[in-house]
């Protein structure tokens, strides 16, 4: 009898220690990366806060930028972008007072694009990862998302009368993603991709609406808005280019065209065609 009891106790112990080991393994894989992601997100948030303040401290911003560089360089290599160079250049120009309005937008929107690319990388990784790796990717996505959340909130305010539409959709997608397994991962990741695409398409549209308002009075601000629209478009361009190269060409022509020829209603029409989703 005692032997049976010992055996049963041993089996239980094996189960318990096994589950602990699995947890520890998951933590071991996730923690260092997650810490780096958190460091990146915190640094970006600090940069944005400082940059949007009344008197930006460019030395402090540069110090924070150094912390984000590993993540940016990683994205540059994987996605064939040049953000390390581009953001560094914009940062230097801002510090020396050269076209701060335009270069500041390059920094802000550049970080958003890098973050979206990082989210997409994690979605790709998730699909072929072990359960522990999958869990780690889900956690990283949730942390990365905090960088772009303010943009969703701003678009909700501007396009949905403050009703949490995009933010709620994103939270639902993140929630779905956190529960998804390999079998239904695609549903959640597509939902998240759609919210991101919708947000940045509306952001681009917002800039065009602003240009329409300002083109007769403030060309300097229009130049900044054009840069912002272009940076937002970069985030969604890949999807539009894939679906419809012609729509991509039309939108690029519009971004680079004269202010007098810009029409936000036309832009919205092409964005809907190019992305294949409703914007509002």
């Amino acid at each position: 009898m005692k032997t049976i009891l010992y055996v049963l106790a041993f089996i239980q112990l094996a189960f318990v220690s096994g589950s602990f080991a699995a947890d520890a393994n998951a933590t071991k894989q996730a923690v260092p990366d997650l810490a780096a992601v958190k460091q990146y997100v915190k640094a970006v948030q600090e940069i944005e806060k400082n940059r949007n303040g009344k008197t930006p401290d460019w030395a402090a911003i540069d110090a924070q930028y150094e912390l984000t560089l590993p993540a940016i360089k990683d994205i540059d290599v994987k996605c064939k972008t040049h953000y390390a160079e581009e953001l560094g250049d914009a940062m230097k120009k801002c510090a020396s007072g050269e076209k701060i309005a335009v270069n500041g937008q390059i920094i802000g929107k550049g970080f958003q694009h890098v973050t979206v690319l990082a989210i997409r990388q994690q979605l790709d990784l998730m699909a072929k990862a072990s359960p522990a790796g999958e869990k780690a990717s889900k956690e990283r996505i949730a942390v990365y998302f905090e960088v772009i959340r303010p943009t969703l909130a701003r678009r909700d305010k501007g396009f949905f009368e403050g009703k949490k539409t995009l933010e709620a959709a994103a939270d639902a997608a993140l929630e779905q993603l956190s529960k998804a397994d390999t079998g239904n991962l695609l549903t959640a990741s597509r939902e998240l991709e759609d919210v991101i695409a919708r947000t940045y398409a509306l952001s681009m549209l917002y800039e065009f609406e602003e240009i329409e308002k300002l083109r007769d009075s403030d060309l300097a601000t229009c130049d900044v808005k054009r840069v912002e629209a272009g940076m937002f478009y970069r985030i969604i361009q890949q999807r539009i280019e894939k679906r419809s190269p012609k729509t991509n060409e039309i939108l690029l022509n519009t971004i680079n065209g004269s202010y007098g020829a810009m029409n936000s209603q036309e832009v919205e029409k092409y964005l809907v065609t190019g992305l294949g989703i409703k914007l509002r």
Binding site: L8, K54, G183, E191, R239, A261
Partner: protein
């Protein structure tokens, strides 16, 4: 003891049993992986196998939509093979669905309408570990597997079958159809076709009758016809095979709907165009690979996903990459007339060239925004819109046509002068006050010169907007002029709101409220916006008044305490005030550090903490001074109460003023 042990063992075994059964049942629920196939623009079939027999149910709805999902049940009775047909769907729409009460949500997308663009993915080799990210990142609407199902040791596509249909050279690649023995759909076909959007894809998987191939090439509703075949089946090299002569024969007969491309599965990667048919080789000898094919009405391209290489399978007519660099260079250096001449020469020598629409637009733009010759600009914009209605610049040209055509009066003179002022003079010199004033006067003269022009109200509105930030009174005057002289014009409709905004921006809230109230009567459609502006103006007015009152209270209390004799401040009072300053400062510094993210900047936080601390110190001093002054009763209770009250009043007034002057919007925290 032994009995107890026995019971314990039974209990443990029972618990383990329950856990195993529970895990097993949940894995059964999770293991249902449906397949989607037979997708058209309006219907789709979802199928799955189950060990238990039941009648399959599905709930579905367009992805991202709100509301309750629609139910669908399979047509046949209870079985372990479930097939639910969803009908009444919308084209190019992604639907989310779940089986029964399962927690897993899946999605599929209906076929696009005839001319809508889409992509599909062709893969070969073992892609099981990358098929999910591939479908996610490449947005393929279906998969073509170039590896025969018989060569797959396991199902490589099981994770994506709920989302996209899978095809191979022989037909629909479906474990469900194979299991159910649906010969009609899953049986091997040497020759079969797939219609998706405006694409007809013909699969030649074995020796087929030429007549049947020719029949399939006849696709009146398709804008693009493509063939996927294997080299071994066709026979010898490109261009000499029998299939090629069939395609050439078809293209001669139907030049408007030619066979655009042939994907040849084999060991070569040769891309060659023979007699107008684009052949491209897919080297399936490589271990694994994926191609995304982007299909548009005018063009089709194959992108080799792993190699960052693309092949144009169908090009827009006459596409040649020739541009007029010299014409652009001339325009960039300001030689506009010469640039126009160079463009005209370019058009003459490159007739039928793809880049001609760009040249038309460039000429129109030079006339429009550089030379301000709007008649000529219109001619070229219209030419572009007529000759290239589907061009990528036509949308921009249409906007300019619309704008310029609205102001043709006086032979475009007011438009030319106004546009020149805006684009050249004002853009360059608006920051120089004297020049700015001169330019605005010039616009005023222009309005006086052409008061009946269609452009006059636009110019008047522009003028008012320019005055708005720098000279509010002149702006109001200009808006009033707009209302008076051009009351029926659309620009004047919201002039009263803009007058309100001008006063609001200038901090003249009483006048702003008056203007807004007037606008409220005129524009009931904007009632909500105007009311919120009135509320904001009233709030700001209230804040100003409170600040004014607080200022007086602070001065009176401070004056009463220190100006009237005796003015001496006791050492004890100073110690108390310093203590209050230090304690409040320390507490606020700590709390501020905790919530530092709520502040706009560190400077602002330091200002608030230090001003609050100073106010606390002064309030303590005032309290003590008042206590001593009011020391009229023996117990000291009354004097303490008076002192405290004076201190509190001064403290509240001081705090309000500090927030008001440091960052007024923080008053929202205290609902002020």
């Amino acid at each position: 003891m032994c009995k107890l042990c026995l019971w314990l063992i039974v209990l443990i075994i029972a618990i383990i049993g329950i856990v195993i059964v529970f895990k097993h049942s949940s894995s059964v629920a999770l293991s249902i992986k449906p397949e989607v196939f037979n997708i058209s623009t309006s219907q789709a079939t979802i199928a799955w196998l189950s060990k238990e027999k039941y009648k399959g149910r599905i709930s579905y709805m367009p992805a991202g939509s709100e509301g309750s999902p629609l139910p669908a049940t399979e047509a046949f009775g209870v079985s372990g093979q479930h097939e639910v047909v969803l009908t009444g769907l919308r084209a190019s729409t992604r639907y989310t669905y779940r089986i029964g009460n399962s927690k897993s949500l899946f999605q599929f997308q209906t076929q696009p309408a005839q001319n809508s663009p889409f992509s599909f993915v062709a893969v070969w080799g073992d892609v099981s570990d990358r098929i999910v990210p591939l479908i996610r990142s490449e947005s393929g609407e279906f998969i073509v597997s170039l590896t025969p199902a018989s060569d797959q040791k396991s199902d490589w596509f099981s994770d994506v079958r709920p989302y996209v249909p899978v095809y191979n050279l022989l037909g629909i690649d479906s474990p469900f159809l194979s299991a159910t023995g649906d010969e009609h759909q899953s049986g091997p076909n040497n020759l079969w076709k797939l219609d998706w959007g405006g694409l007809r894809l013909i699969f030649v998987g074995g020796v087929a009758e030429p007549g049947k191939i020719a029949e399939m090439l006849n696709a009146p509703s398709a804008h693009t016809i493509g063939i996927i075949t294997s080299l071994e089946v066709v026979g010898v090299s490109f261009g000499e095979a029998k299939l090629h002569s069939i395609l050439v024969g078809h293209n001669k007969q139907q030049p408007t709907r030619p066979a655009a491309f042939v994907a040849v599965i084999g060991s070569g990667e040769k891309n060659v165009e023979i007699d107008g048919v684009q052949y491209f080789g897919v080297d399936t000898a490589k271990q694994t690979g994926a191609i995304r094919v982007d299909v548009d009405a005018e063009s089709v391209r194959a992108v080799f996903v792993d190699e960052n290489r693309e092949v144009a399978l169908k090009q827009p007519p006459l596409k040649q990459k020739r541009t007029c660099e010299e014409c652009r260079r001339l325009a960039d250096k300001g030689a506009y007339e010469e640039s126009v001449k160079a463009y005209l020469e370019f058009i003459e020598t490159h007739k039928g060239n793809f880049q001609i629409d760009d040249a038309y637009f460039a000429i129109a733009e030079i006339f429009d925004s550089k030379l301000f010759e709007f008649k000529n600009a219109l001619v070229w914009y219209r030419r572009l819109a007529t000759e290239y209605p589907d061009g990528t610049l036509t949308s921009l040209a249409s906007q300019r046509i619309k704008y310029i055509s609205a102001y043709p009066d006086h032979d475009y003179k007011p438009l030319a002068q106004f546009e020149r002022i805006k684009a050249v003079e004002f853009a360059r010199k608006k920051d120089q006050p004297e020049e700015r004033s001169r330019i605005l006067n010039e616009v005023t003269s222009l309005i006086k010169q052409y008061p009946d022009s269609n452009l006059a109200p636009v110019m008047q509105h522009w003028l008012a907007n320019q005055y708005r930030l720098s000279e509010p009174d002149k702006a109001v005057e200009a808006y009033m002029m707009l209302r008076k002289n051009y009351s029926s014009h659309s620009e004047s409709q919201e002039a009263m709101v803009e007058i309100g905004e001008t006063y609001y921006d200038a901090g003249r809230y009483k006048e702003a409220i008056k203007a807004y109230n007037e606008a409220l009567g005129e524009l009931p459609a904007l009632a909500d916006t105007i009311k919120s502006q009135i509320a904001r103006s009233e709030r700001n007015l209230r804040r100003d008044k409170i600040a004014y009152v607080c200022c007086w209270i602070a001065v009176i209390v401070f004056g009463t305490a220190f100006i009237r004799k005796p003015r001496r401040i006791g050492a004890r009072s100073i110690v108390c005030a310093c203590t209050a300053f230090v304690i409040v400062g320390a507490v606020l510094s700590f709390y501020g550090w905790l919530i530092h993210e709520q502040f706009n900047s560190a400077r602002e936080m330091v200002l608030i903490v230090s001003s609050f601390s100073v106010i606390a110190g002064l309030s303590t001093l005032i309290s003590m001074k008042f206590s001593r002054r009011a020391n009229i009763d023996s117990t000291g209770v009354f004097s303490a109460a008076v002192g405290s009250l004076a201190g509190i009043v001064f403290f509240l007034a001081g705090i309000y003023l500090a927030i008001y002057y440091i960052y007024v919007h923080y008053l929202i925290v205290v609902k002020l």
